[in-house]
């Protein structure tokens, strides 16, 4: 790891301001993604701001019957929360399908949303990668692309977003709450719908979210329970402790209508509300719209039929 200095922030607004003051600073939460990347010198912050002591670790009910999940709530605690299990089960299921028990005990809500891609070339510092070194090229195009995106990518980058949790949050219409490092007024806040939070790569794949430098996530809110049956189906190379090749998060209502988002296929959780009009007609018409414009590689085109079959299995499960 490159040398860095370390501080413990005293309040969310101070954390954001401290981060904005030092361009090379990063927040550290669970550390399970950041430290991994720092050891490989893919991330090289010169200052770390520890946000673990900010009291952002509670799950509270909101006035409109939803939940406000603190940015520092650990993945284990979020998955095990009785209200989440009962009313937002797709979120519990997605979290429990990710990483390992040890990692979920440290990983946080905000850190999980901001985890970086698992593209093998992003991890290999000897290889060209536009996301790691802008302008160096993309080794995955024409390279080993089995795990990578089939839709939403660009000529510059076809990486996927690896989070399971974020796919469930997309289907639940979550909102990301932040505090900005603005000087005046100190600590201005904003609310970002999860649909707008992650960016598509375009020609700047190194910019992955709409967060501004120093902007701190304080919470993620869920609207009132969506009802229906909740499903998260993850297809991967082994039964546990592996990232998704394809995952399906779905909420299905008794009349067959519902919502669906996909993981493992795109640079962000992939959902298209217009595709959901087809839900009661089955997986095929939904996927035709949801994956319209897909540009898979020779190595990952298997994800298209795989996603359709995974959704078909979910719809069959929902019928009981």
């Amino acid at each position: 790891m490159k040398p860095f200095t370390y501080e413990r922030a005293a309040s969310p607004a101070e954390a954001a301001t401290a981060a904005a003051r030092q361009p090379g600073a990063r927040f550290i939460a669970g550390g399970t993604n950041l430290l991994d990347l720092m050891k490989l010198q893919i991330e090289t912050p010169d200052h770390l701001i520890d946000v673990n002591g900010l009291g952002l670790d509670r799950i509270e009910e909101t006035q409109d019957g939803g939940l406000r999940i603190g940015a520092l709530v650990r993945n284990t605690d979020l998955a095990a929360d009785a209200r989440v299990r009962r009313d937002h089960a797709v979120l519990s299921r997605a979290l429990l399908a990710g990483a390992s028990g040890q990692l979920r005990n440290r990983a946080t809500t905000a850190g999980n949303l901001l985890q970086r891609t698992r593209c093998p070339y992003f991890y290999d510092t000897n290889m060209a990668c536009n996301k790691r070194r802008p302008g160096s090229g993309c080794s995955a195009l024409g390279g080993y692309s089995r795990q990578l995106a089939v839709v939403g990518g660009s000529e510059a980058c076809i990486a996927t977003h690896p989070s399971d949790m974020a796919v469930a949050m997309r289907v639940l219409d979550a909102t990301v709450e932040t505090v900005k490092p603005t000087v005046k007024p100190e600590g201005a806040t904003r609310k970002i719908p999860i649909a707008d939070f992650h960016r598509l790569p375009g020609d700047t794949p190194e910019i992955e979210t709409v967060l501004e430098p120093g902007e701190l996530i304080t919470a993620v809110t869920l609207p009132k329970p969506a009802g229906g049956t909740h499903h998260y189906r993850k297809v991967r190379d082994r039964a546990s402790y592996a990232f998704a090749l394809v995952s399906v998060a779905a909420i299905v209502q008794p009349d067959g209508s519902g919502r669906v988002a996909l993981g493992g296929v795109a640079p962000k959780p992939w959902r298209r509300e217009d595709a959901e009009a087809e839900m009661s007609r089955g997986a095929k018409p939904v996927m035709a719209k949801l994956l319209a414009g897909a540009r898979p590689t020779e190595e990952n085109k298997f994800k298209l039929p795989l996603a359709e079959r995974a959704l078909a299995a979910v719809l069959a499960e929902a019928k009981g």
Partner: protein, 212 residues
Amino acid sequence: MASPREIEVKRRALMAATVATAAVGAVAQRAGAQTTPARAAPPAMKVSFTVNGKPRDLDLDPRTTLLDALREGLHLGGTKKGCDHGQCGACTVILDGRRINSCLTLAVMHPGSEITTIEGLGTPDKLHPMQAAFVKHDGYQCGYCTPGQICSAVAVLAEIEAGIPSHVTADLNAKPALDDAELRERMSGNICRCGAYSNIVEAIGEVAGRKA
């Protein structure tokens, strides 16, 4: 013949030398990488936490992971370094009652914490029931993953007891079962290169049965 004490001193000196060579290597590498200018090592930071019931104070480079602090700072070599990237579970310890990968957290992030390592679970003449069950069921071959497996297993039973669900829990709103499928899923963050898995599940199952 060398006394155990002499061997220990030699081992430490050798370790110190290895660490020093590694440091030189790192400097050389840094000088070679021309894109990022070399940064001065940051000043050491103090951190105090409790390890296996004993208060400990350390002066550390902030880069030190909890794993390296335990192994190199406190000479508690039971906790193992496998991958150093959260992928194998060899470094599993129990931090404030929860199992974590000690390789993916910084020691300075844990002032006031209580840490339990394999050395704190039991001693050779007073084994923890989980340690005894691993011995009885041959839950290892080379033993490298074993301290992590045992720390993880102890925490897994506490997690089931606390009603924390897993990926294979059929009903999220019911108490999770204590069957082999649950144990296997919950232990999936501990890789065993020797493949002692079936005996590991037997060992944990026996301890779980005794508790139930």
